[in-house]
C-alpha cells in the first residue's frame, strides 16, 4: 500500500517527481499544442532569470537590478550575429558577453553595499538601454532590429537545456564552499572577510557566472520575438520580475524560486487573457498579499501543508 504521505513527501518522491516532470517536459513537443510550448518557453525564461539572479543575490543579499542589462545583451547578440553564426554559437556568445560585461560591472560596483549597489545596478541597466538607443538612432539610423526566427520547438528545447544548466549550476554552487562563503557575506561581509574569504573576488566571479545564463536566455528568446528594440530588450521588468518571483516563491531554496517564477508567469498569462482590464491590478494585489502574509514565500506553505496531509490521510 502506498500512503498519501509516501506519495508526496517521501524521499523517493523527491527524486522521482523531478524526473517525471523532466520527462514530461522533454516530450512536450510531441503532445502539447504550439501555444503551450510558447507559454512554457516563457516560463523557462523567467525560471532562468530568477534562479540565476538568486545564485548571487540570494545568499549574498546584494540585490541586483541589472538582470535586464544582461538579458538584453543576449538579445542584441542574437540580433546582430543571428544570421552570421550558427544558433548554438550565437547563444553561447550571448552568455559570454554578459559574463564579460558583468566582470567589468563587478569590478566597478561591488565595493558599493546595500541600497547603493541596487541603485547602481538599476542605473547601469538604464544607461545601457539609453546608450544602445542613442547608437541605433544616430549610427544605425533605425531604432529596432530584425532577429532571424528559429523554429519554436528548437527555442523550446534550447530554453529547457538552459533551465537545466542554470538549476544544476545554482544547486552546485549552493552546496559548495563558494555558496557557503556567499552566505557568510550575506550575513556579515566584514566577518567573512576576516575569516579568510576574499570577498570581492568571490562576489565578482559569482555575479558574472549568474549573468551568463541571463545572456544565453536573451539570445534564445530574441529569436522568438523577431523584432526587438532597446525598450523591448532592456525592459526594466526583466530586472524587477526575477526579484519578485524569487520572493514570491521563497528565495532560500531553488525549488521555491522555480515555483515562484512558474506561478507568476502562468498567473500573468491567465490574468492577461481572461481579465485584460484588471490584469495589472489583480496581479499587484496578489503580489502584495503574498509578500505581506507569507514573508517566506510560497515555500513557507510547505510545512503546514505537510501537517495537514499527515493529519488527513495518514492514519
Amino acid at each position: 500500500m502506498i500512503s498519501a504521505r509516501s506519495l508526496f513527501f517521501s524521499r523517493s518522491a523527491r527524486t522521482f517527481l523531478p524526473i517525471l516532470i523532466l520527462v514530461l517536459l522533454a516530450t512536450a513537443p510531441v503532445y502539447a499544442s504550439l501555444y503551450t510550448l510558447i507559454s512554457l518557453s516563457n516560463v523557462f525564461m523567467y525560471i532562468v532569470l530568477t534562479v540565476s539572479w538568486a545564485v548571487f543575490s540570494g545568499p549574498s543579499r546584494y540585490i541586483s537590478l541589472a538582470s535586464a542589462a544582461f538579458f538584453g545583451i543576449g538579445i542584441y547578440v542574437s540580433a546582430i550575429l543571428g544570421n552570421v553564426l550558427p544558433f548554438p554559437v550565437v547563444v553561447f556568445i550571448g552568455g559570454l558577453l554578459s559574463f564579460l560585461v558583468a566582470l567589468l560591472v563587478g569590478l566597478s560596483s561591488l565595493r558599493l553595499r546595500g541600497m547603493y549597489f541596487t541603485i547602481f545596478t538599476f542605473g547601469l541597466s538604464e544607461l545601457i538601454r539609453h546608450s544602445v538607443h542613442w547608437w541605433e538612432v544616430n549610427m544605425t539610423g533605425t531604432v529596432g532590429r530584425w532577429v532571424v526566427a528559429v523554429d519554436q520547438t528548437i527555442v523550446y528545447y534550447a530554453m529547457l537545456i538552459i533551465v537545466m544548466m542554470t538549476v544544476l549550476v545554482a544547486y552546485t554552487i549552493s552546496r559548495s564552499r563558494l555558496g557557503f562563503a556567499l552566505r557568510g557575506i550575506g550575513e556579515s561581509e566584514d566577518a567573512a572577510d576576516h575569516m579568510g574569504v576574499s570577498v570581492n573576488a568571490l562576489k565578482i566571479i559569482t555575479f558574472a557566472i549568474s549573468t551568463f545564463f541571463m545572456g544565453t536566455a536573451g539570445a534564445v528568446m530574441a529569436t522568438r520575438w523577431t523584432y526587438i528594440d532597446p525598450s523591448i530588450a532592456f525592459n526594466p521588468l526583466f530586472s524587477f520580475m526575477p526579484v519578485l518571483m524569487a520572493i514570491f516563491g521563497g528565495i532560500a531554496q531553488i525549488v521555491g524560486q522555480i515555483i515562484g517564477a512558474t506561478a507568476l508567469t502562468v498567473l500573468a498569462d491567465i490574468l492577461l487573457t481572461k481579465f485584460p482590464y484588471y490584469y495589472m491590478l489583480s496581479y499587484g494585489v496578489i503580489l502584495v498579499a503574498v509578500i505581506l502574509f507569507l514573508p517566506g514565500g510560497l515555500m513557507a506553505l510547505q510545512a503546514p501543508m505537510k501537517n495537514w496531509y499527515e493529519r488527513s490521510f495518514v492514519k
Binding site: F180, A181, R183, S188, A191, A192, M195, G196, V197
Partner: protein, 245 residues
C-alpha cells in the same frame, strides 16, 4: 621573539589622529592587554592589525613578515584572527556552521568537510558551547555569542588572536568564565592580544599591558607597573584625583 610588531604606526581620520607613532610588540605565547579610555584608539589599532584599515604610515610585521596594508582575508590566512567589539556573527547560520566557516576559509583551509566538522565540534566544547551546535547563532545569549566568536576565530587556526572587549556586557560570573577561557587559549599555545575595560580581569590575566590615550602609547609594562604608573592614573582618574591621593 615578537610574533607581532608595530613600528611607529600612524593613522589619521581626516585631522583626527587615532594612532600616533605607536610602537608595540607581542611575544609568542603572551597575553597582552590593551587598555585606555574611550576613544583612545584601541579598536583602531586592532583594525590596523587585522587589515580593516590601512595605516597612514608605519609598519606592522607578523612572524617577521611585513603585513602592512594587506586585506583582512590575507591577514587571516597568515594566522591572525579577531573578534569584534560589537559581535559580528553569521546570525542566521547555526552555531556549528559559524565555526565551520572559520575552519573552511581561515589559515587552516581544511578541505575535508568531515575533518572541519570534527574540529569545529571540539572547539565548541572547548569554549563551552557543546550541545548548542544546531541553534541559530542569533538566538544565543550575548555571553555565548562572544564565546562563539572566539571559537570561530580559533577555527581559522590562528596563532594570534585579537580579542576586542570579549568581557564587555557580561555579568561577574560570566567574566570569570571568560578569564578562564582566555587562559586556556594561551595554554593551547595561541598568543592573545586583547582590549578590555574590565580592569580586574585584564590586570589578572595579562603578562603585559599597553595603555593608549588619544592615539599615543602612554605606558607599557606588567600589570603591577601599570597600576602604579602616574600617567595612567591621571588618564583614568583625572589629575585632581591623583593629586588628592
Amino acid at each position: 621573539m615578537p610574533i607581532l610588531e608595530g613600528k611607529s604606526v600612524v593613522k589619521y581620520f581626516g585631522g583626527l589622529v587615532a594612532a600616533a607613532y605607536v610602537d608595540f610588540h607581542v611575544d609568542k605565547g603572551e597575553i597582552v592587554g590593551l587598555i585606555g579610555p574611550n576613544g583612545a584608539g584601541k579598536t583602531t589599532l586592532f583594525n590596523l592589525i587585522s587589515g580593516s584599515l590601512a595605516p597612514t604610515s608605519g609598519s606592522i610585521g607578523f612572524k617577521g613578515e611585513d603585513i602592512t596594508g594587506l586585506k583582512p582575508h590575507q591577514i587571516c590566512r597568515r594566522g591572525i584572527a579577531r573578534t569584534f567589539q560589537l559581535v559580528k556573527l553569521f546570525g542566521n547560520m547555526t552555531v556549528l556552521e559559524n565555526v565551520l566557516f572559520g575552519s573552511l576559509f581561515g589559515k587552516s583551509m581544511t578541505s575535508a568537510r568531515s575533518t572541519a566538522e570534527t574540529e569545529s565540534s571540539e572547539l565548541l566544547e572547548f569554549v563551552g558551547l557543546s550541545g548548542m551546535g544546531h541553534i541559530l547563532a542569533k538566538e544565543l545569549s550575548l555571553a555565548n555569542q562572544k564565546r562563539l566568536e572566539i571559537a570561530r576565530a580559533m577555527a581559522t587556526k590562528a596563532e594570534l588572536l585579537l580579542l576586542d572587549e570579549v568581557m564587555a556586557g557580561l555579568n561577574p560570573a560570566e567574566v570569570d568564565k571568560a578569564v578562564d577561557l582566555v587562559k586556556d587559549i594561551r595554554n593551547k599555545g595561541t598568543t592573545v592580544f586583547m582590549i578590555e575595560h574590565v580592569m580586574k580581569a585584564i590586570m589578572g590575566i595579562s603578562d603585559r599591558i599597553i595603555v593608549l590615550h588619544f592615539g599615543t602609547k602612554i605606558a607599557e609594562g606588567t600589570p603591577d607597573e601599570i597600576a602604579k604608573d602616574k600617567k595612567v592614573i591621571e588618564v583614568y582618574l583625572g589629575l585632581e584625583a591623583h593629586a588628592e591621593s
